[in-house]
């Protein structure tokens, strides 16, 4: 029986973040969400809660993630999707429930940890809560918010190929200048297709900055 004070809440630390690989957006792959030198015993469980959509959200896009169990998921992993209604608001939450048939260490280098099979989210605007039921007297809740913290792995320098850049002046004192800028992103887009599926209706935003 779980004791009253068994639950402890934690936040992820830098070395516990397991950033989803770029392919996770496109393919039915496992999304790693946690990694630490921690061993869970057999017959114990983890529950990972992910908000998939929420009409009450202040975000313009109310759909955050998609969740499904893929065929290669381990037999002891289940996915429960709940639709919660409150007035006119509808919230969909997915729970990945896994009961371990043998003990497992959540750390073994870059390609291990707790994985959800599978989860696809709109480029990291999601929050995952993971409950680790270590024992009846020890439950840890980790809150994880993948936004732009430890997962800045998609930035590269040198991918832009400027084809044309001109500067002309509107005033004779050099102010109010007019620029035309043309870039070739062929290499970027080609690399991107291995990781990202464009979907009909996606309204993306392209940002130009200078420093």
């Amino acid at each position: 029986m779980i004791t009253n004070n068994a639950l402890k809440t934690r936040s992820y630390t830098a070395n516990q973040y397991r950033c989803p690989s770029a392919e996770a957006w496109k393919n039915n792959t496992s999304v790693y969400v946690f990694s630490a030198n921690a061993i869970i015993d057999a017959q114990r469980s983890t529950i990972s809660e992910v908000v998939l959509s929420d009409t009450a959200s202040s975000a313009t896009d109310k759909n955050f993630c998609e969740a499904n169990l893929i065929s290669s998921a381990v037999d002891d992993e289940d996915l429960l999707i709940y639709t919660l209604k409150s007035g006119s608001n509808v919230k969909t939450v997915g729970y990945f429930v896994r009961t371990y048939t043998s003990s497992e260490n959540f750390y073994a280098g870059n390609n291990a940890g707790l994985a959800l099979s599978y989860l696809k989210c709109k480029y990291f605007v999601f929050t995952i809560k993971v409950y680790f039921y270590w024992s009846d007297t020890s439950i840890t809740l980790y809150n994880n918010n993948f936004t732009n913290g430890y997962c800045n792995s998609y930035t590269s320098y040198g991918g832009l190929n400027t084809k044309y850049f001109s500067q002309s002046y509107q005033k004779n004192d050099g102010t109010d200048v007019d620029f035309v800028h043309e870039v070739d992103i062929y290499s970027i887009v080609n690399a991107m297709t291995s990781n990202f599926n464009f979907r009909a209706g996606d309204a993306m935003v392209l940002r130009w900055t200078f420093s």
């Binding site: 991918g159 004779n172 620029f179 297709t193 464009f198 993306m204 392209l206 900055t209």
Partner: protein, 127 residues
């Protein structure tokens, strides 16, 4: 570079729908384009294709002394919420080398003077 005043898409960026154009918007230090669709990729680009994006923008001026050197960054967000929160980008690239522009004002059609702030009266003839 100064503060951005306005911008316009000149080519290469496909809108999301028939009714909404890809809109170029400026803040003081940022240019961003909304309603960007998938660059017509189905499922991948043909080989040896260029894929170019072209914009025009105006700023309130570079400094009036000598050269201005800057880097250009391009970041693609999944949606407007990701942009507003500056979440992970689908890609986030910077040009490999900097761009240098020379600040000068045209005293005459052939004389561009650095640091010139005066005015001049004359007739410029276009040949």
């Amino acid at each position: 570079m100064g503060s951005f005043l306005s911008c316009a898409v000149l080519g290469g960026i496909i809108s999301t729908s028939d009714t909404q154009v890809a809109t170029c918007i400026t803040t003081s230090d940022t240019i961003y384009i909304t309603n960007v669709a998938g660059f017509q990729m189905d499922p991948s680009l043909p080989a040896l294709s260029n894929y170019r994006l072209k914009i025009r923008f105006r700023s309130d001026g570079v400094t009036d002394t000598n050269d201005n050197t800057f880097y250009h960054y391009l970041k693609l967000y999944a949606n407007i919420d990701a942009y507003n929160s500056d979440n992970h980008g689908i890609f986030n690239e910077r040009m490999a080398t900097s761009v240098t522009t020379t600040s000068c004002a045209y005293y005459s059609p052939t004389d561009c003077r650095i640091g010139y702030t005066g005015s001049n009266i004359g007739v410029f003839q276009v040949q």
